[in-house]
């Protein structure tokens, strides 16, 4: 961006990279809204032990299947009612935010790190290493995401940690392919040749010289990857293959309430709303990130 444009926006010096990013990002009102909602959910997740009115696992005898506060027969102690065994809905939802965000972030961090390593290796070594990595990624992508996750869970067994492993493997190819493509494009540029001539070793070249220039699309992918991971994990939880009871996971909370669907619909409504809100907020933010970081896509 030429610096004279910055002057017209009122600043004297050209904006720093973060400022420029924020200016572009905050142009998109939806993205800012998404960011705000994400911040609120993160705060709730972090402060769940302080905010939650009850222990999420405590079963209140004689207080099962209570409706939320605006309905008849509601108990003011349980704002959003209770589930089939008398656990407080609001508390479980708050602790559920922890589980979902933890899954989303862990999947994102692990698949990004492994993806960077494999993508850079494929781009740098080329030849047989490249072919092998790309073939394996093709294979992973050939199996529908949830089916592959189910296969992995069938082998390693259902648990919260295994959900993270399975979803990470499912989403790995995106990062590897993205990194490999952008690293290959960067490797042909003059500054890389200059660095090579200056005697920079391969490891330093790939991590310090090339990697920072591949980051923009990677950040966008990472943001959208969090929401996809949350959805995928919730799907597994719903099928009974994710986090196991009594963990307060939103998807699993839905699965356990299916028998109550007709008589007590709110027990089912809240966990789903939480998943939808979280995923939507992250996607809104991700769209804004993409528009701000990737000017080629800014047209639309």
């Amino acid at each position: 961006m030429p610096s004279d444009i910055a002057i017209s926006s009122g600043a004297i010096a050209p904006p720093g990279p973060f400022r420029a990013f924020w200016n572009a990002f905050s142009e998109n009102r939806g993205a800012v809204l998404g960011l705000a909602v994400v911040c609120v959910i993160v705060l709730i997740a972090l402060l769940a032990p302080l905010l939650a009115p009850h222990d999420p696992f405590e079963q209140f005898k004689g207080a099962t299947k209570l409706p939320p506060f605006w309905m008849d027969k509601a108990d003011p102690r349980f704002i959003l009612g209770t589930d089939a065994v008398g656990r407080d809905m609001l508390s479980r939802l708050m602790f559920g935010a922890r589980v979902s965000l933890f899954i989303g972030l862990s999947v994102m961090v692990v698949s990004m790190l492994v993806g960077i390593a494999l993508g850079l290796a494929a781009a740098w070594f080329g030849g047989i290493v490249d072919v092998a990595i790309i073939r394996v990624m093709d294979l992973i992508m050939a199996i529908p995401s949830l089916v592959l996750a189910i296969l992995i869970i069938a082998i390693i067994g259902p648990s919260l940690a295994n959900t993270i492993i399975a979803v990470t493997i499912v989403y790995l190819p995106r990062y590897v392919r993205l990194l490999r493509a952008s690293a290959l494009a960067e490797l042909s540029k003059d500054y890389v040749t200059a660095a090579k001539v200056a005697g920079v070793g391969p490891f330093r070249l790939m991590t310090v010289t090339v990697l920072p220039n591949c980051l923009a699309p990677l950040i966008v992918q990472a943001a959208l990857g969090v929401s996809d991971a949350i959805l995928e994990a919730a799907g597994l939880g719903f099928l009974g293959l994710g986090a196991q009871p009594p963990v307060a996971e939103w998807g699993a909370m839905l699965a356990n309430t299916r028998d109550l669907m007709l008589s007590h619909p709110w027990v089912m409504a809240f966990p789903g709303l939480c998943i939808l809100t979280t995923v939507m907020a992250i996607n809104l933010m991700g769209d804004g990130l993409r528009d701000a970081l990737d000017p080629r896509l800014r047209k639309s």
Binding site: D138, A142, I143, S145, F238, P271, I275, L276
Partner: protein, 337 residues
């Protein structure tokens, strides 16, 4: 074109080999010996155990077992289900039409609504229509479809009584032999009055649920592709010639905007099959997705193994077809290195 075809075909061979290897290893990695699983709770004599091991080829060296497995697959032998004792290929093919029917209608709904919605958003860019449509698309894109399905059942079936809750046809009222496996075709063939409409009636809600995410993807894709095309010189030329807006957008712009959209529709097949697992579970739809989940809970690992192999093969084949079609439409892809 032939060279492109051969090259593209050759690329799928290692993927297939790797897929065979993974599914082969899978059954050896799952907890529990396949024989132990098979013999169930009753104990059996060591001689009988040895005999069973021999029958299943488990006393052979591992490479021999893999070759046997590969040989079996090449002859269409995907193993036998532990629970039903029928060949897995047969079981899969009996259930697959139900899944195809569901995914096909889901895609039909998604395209029929997604493309016009995306087009309208692009043409009225920045307007309240655009913002509303894209807001709806974002919601659909973020939807946990298992929850969406339950909500729709609750509202449409249980409250408004508009659609049936589950299954493919009302079995109390109608019965017809499965000729093709497609409920719509079989019900027509049976000649029973109302059977076809009943089958269609059962199909609507699951199709909407499964089509929701692809619909949102298609709408967003059509919009951005259309916006790009509307900036092109030939669109300006068409406008300058004095053609009506309808003709410019409907004919000149849409045709070019649709090429990437069609490709993405083809590549959604994997997403659809993954979504089918959840949709079929919710609606008790007797397809391969529900069957896979049931195989897990019944510990029917050969069925799981064969089913995953077959589903992955379908996805690979469809992606190959999409690639070939794209190469046919766009020579630049064909001639790229």
């Amino acid at each position: 074109m032939l060279r492109f075809l051969i090259k593209r075909l050759a690329l799928t061979v290692p993927t297939f080999l790797a897929l065979m290897f993974v599914t082969f290893m899978m059954i050896r990695l799952v907890p529990g010996d396949p024989i132990e699983v098979r013999r169930g709770e009753r104990g059996i004599s060591p001689e009988r155990l040895e005999q069973l091991r021999h029958e299943m080829g488990l006393d052979q060296p591992i490479w021999q077992q893999f070759l046997d497995y590969a040989n079996g697959l090449a002859h269409g032998d995907f193993g036998v289900s532990i629970v039903s004792r029928t060949p897995i290929l047969h079981e899969f093919l009996t259930l697959f039409p139900a899944t195809i029917e569901l995914t096909f209608f889901a895609m039909l709904i998604a395209t029929a609504i997604g493309v016009p919605a995306g087009m309208m958003a692009a043409v009225k860019r920045g307007s309240i229509y655009d913002q509303t449509l894209m807001g709806v698309a974002l919601t659909g894109y973020s939807m946990p479809i298992f929850w969406w399905g339950l909500i729709l059942i609750l509202v449409m079936s249980n409250t408004l009584h508009l659609t049936p809750v589950s299954g493919r046809v009302d079995l109390i009222k109608y019965f017809y032999p499965p000729v093709t496996g497609f409920a719509l075709i079989d019900s027509l063939l049976s000649g029973q009055k109302g059977a076809f409409l009943d089958a269609l009636h059962h199909l609507i809600l699951p199709s909407i649920v499964l089509g929701t995410v692809p619909m949102a993807v298609i709408a967003r894709m059509t919009r951005s592709s259309m916006l790009e095309v509307l900036e092109e010189d030939y669109v300006r030329t068409a406008r300058a010639k004095g053609l009506s807006a309808r003709r410019v957008i409907g004919l000149h712009a849409l045709r070019n905007a649709l090429i990437p959209v069609i490709t993405s529709i083809g590549l959604q097949v994997g997403t659809l099959l993954a979504g089918a697992v959840l949709t079929e579970t919710i609606f008790s739809w007797p397809g391969v997705g529900k069957w896979l989940i049931e195989s897990i809970s019944r510990r029917d690992y050969p069925a799981l193994q064969g089913g995953i192999m077959l589903i992955a093969a379908c996805v690979i084949l469809v992606n190959l077809l999409v690639d070939l079609m794209y190469g046919l439409i766009n020579p630049r892809i064909r001639h790229a290195k």
